[in-house]
Amino acid sequence: MAKYILKRILWMIPIIIGVIFLVFTLMYFTPGDPARNALGMTATEEAIEAWNAEHGLDQGFWVRLFNYYKGILHFDFGTSYTNGVSIAGEILSRFPYTILVGMLTLVIAVAVGIPTGVLAATHQNTWIDNLCMAGTMFFTAMPGFWFCLVMVMFFSLRLGWTPVSGYETWRHYIIPCVAMGVGSSAGIARQTRSSMLEVIRQDYVTTARAKGQKERNITYNHCLRNGMIPILTVIGGFLAFLISGSLVSEQIFSIPGMGVYMFKGIQQKDVPVVLGCTVVIAIYFCVIMLVTDIVYTIVDPRMKTAMISISKKVRKDGKK
């Protein structure tokens, strides 16, 4: 197992290299003149050239790409075009906010989603099930940012219970986390329901019932654990999507996280900022996928054998 994890971590290196190449190429072809953006419309031709030389923009595509890779090796993400601040430092100070909001959102999403799904599955085709499913139908079709705005309108503006935006106290986090969490719980609930329904039909559930086990224990000990793999996949996907969500929600609530930073980078064609953020996101994504896979093996012992044999097979294929 340790070998497998190590292999997965090493595998992240080519992925990061690939991601940098992909985003670097995209940003290279983005129209716009970063020097003009940084120095303003009145800057002279000479000043612009000097600025370009300073940031290495007078060189060709491959040289710039290579230089960027070299920087990354030393954990040097470069400095922002717009304000000259070190990107690594900026990301370090912003990432915790994004993660904090993300984790709180996750907790709420799971706490709402899984019980809803279980409830719907155990009451299949009753009004409870229909109600739960109609609710999740609605939430999956709803743009997250819109739900945030509606919540703000109601709880902050109309009732005045929570602050509209900001990040100083715990009260600031209630609306963003609850809004995003409840919104995302819909996907988890739908998956929980369908995998529970799948599992409930299995023979070993009948076996447990034939043993005289209580319904409640059957649902939670036998069914839920076996139906967990696809649910975990949805949760993993949700964690990966979190970054996209944060791009929007952080703007609405003025939370100083990665999302806002990256978004501004894209708007201002601040290439090093976008690249730096993408690298961090890609690493984050790979780690999430790895963690999800490890959790799989804890939940379902069969996955362990499957994974180890897959990693062996990959090695064999590589040899051919």
Partner: protein, 324 residues
């Protein structure tokens, strides 16, 4: 005969409803079984055998299946009228069940030892440690070393899994065992191992058993009494000798005719023509009339009653019943 047997099923009918269709799975089945006896319940796919067993334990899917009528008496108690909580105390304790496919009957995310222990803990007031020891004992009884307690089902072969399922079913020393095609999914040599082990344990535990199977060979080997099931009704019943030596019902005769003879040489089989009737639209007369070589006009209109042929031999047929 009016006295209640150890297990007695009277006129049991079970229906499944799905998408505006009603599937008549069991249509007036009656069975009796005494303590320590083994009854072979024989029939083909869709004959309603598994449904009967699941109805005895009351583990049919709640919404889809409905018991339309009948009674099930077990040791003086009527099971269909029991409260769920009382029934739960019987399941796995006094009546337990072995399922057909050992690949799917075990929970893949639980160690096998715990799955046996679970049954013991539910029905006995003992500590976890005692239950664990007893579960280990059961494993050894079915020929699996105690050390494999903490292994997961996927680490066992098919035959071993079925041994675990049997250990689980026998863990609380039940008075009645419902075995639903326990060896169908296994290879012949493994089947022989499992059957031998089962008959050994049955003797040791003095358990009554309902052996559900489509294999007449297995019935001949392990059963004292036989009931032949067709389209949800028992068409013929009696002791194994009565059925195997003097099959009376045309369906039973047809079943024997479909079996390649192991002693003779290569010659044509005499199979039953056609197929079992659609369980959503059962014919009005005898369910077998459409495939029966002896069917008369009366067979197609009148539903035959069970006729007594002497001994314990009963047969549900207008034409063939009295001929013996």
């Amino acid at each position: 005969m009016s006295e209640k047997a150890f297990l007695q099923i009277k006129d049991l009918s079970v229906q499944y409803t799905s998408d505006h269709q009603t599937i008549h799975a069991v249509n007036g089945t009656s069975l009796r079984l005494e303590r320590g006896e083994t009854l072979g319940l024989v029939g083909e796919t869709g004959a309603g055998k598994t449904t009967i067993a699941k109805t005895i334990l009351r583990i049919l899917p709640d919404k889809a299946a409905k018991v339309a009528g009948g009674e099930i008496w077990f040791d003086g108690q009527e099971l269909l009228g029991l409260k769920e909580e009382e029934m739960r105390k019987i399941r796995g304790n006094r009546i337990s069940m072995i399922f057909q496919d050992p690949m799917t009957a075990l929970n893949p995310t639980m160690v096998v030892g715990y799955q046996i222990q679970e049954a013991i803990l539910l029905h006995n007031s003992c500590t976890r440690e005692e239950a664990k020891t007893r579960a280990g004992d059961m494993l050894e009884k079915v020929g699996i070393p105690r050390e494999r307690y903490d292994d997961y089902p996927h680490q066992f072969s098919g035959g071993m899994k079925q041994r675990v399922v049997i250990a689980m079913a026998l863990a609380c020393n039940p008075e009645l065992l419902l075995a639903d095609e326990p060896t169908t999914a296994l290879d012949v040599t493994i089947q022989a191992q499992v059957l031998e082990m089962m008959s050994g344990l049955k003797k040791e535990f003095q358990t009554a058993m309902v052996m559900i199977t489509h294999d007449l060979g297995i019935v001949a080997e392990v059963c004292d009494k036989v009931a032949v099931c067709y389209a949800g009704v028992i068409v013929e019943s009696g002791t194994a000798e009565e059925i195997f030596d003097h099959p009376a019902h045309p369906y039973t005769v047809g079943l024997f005719g479909s079996l390649p003879d192991m002693t003779g040489t290569r010659n044509r089989l005499t199979p039953i023509n056609g197929m079992m009737p659609d369980p959503t639209e059962l014919p009005s007369g005898c369910y077998f009339a459409g495939r029966c070589p002896h069917a008369t006009a009366a067979c197609r209109s009148v539903r035959p009653e069970m006729k007594h042929l002497g001994g314990t031999h009963d047969c549900r047929c207008i034409v063939k019943g009295g001929e013996q």
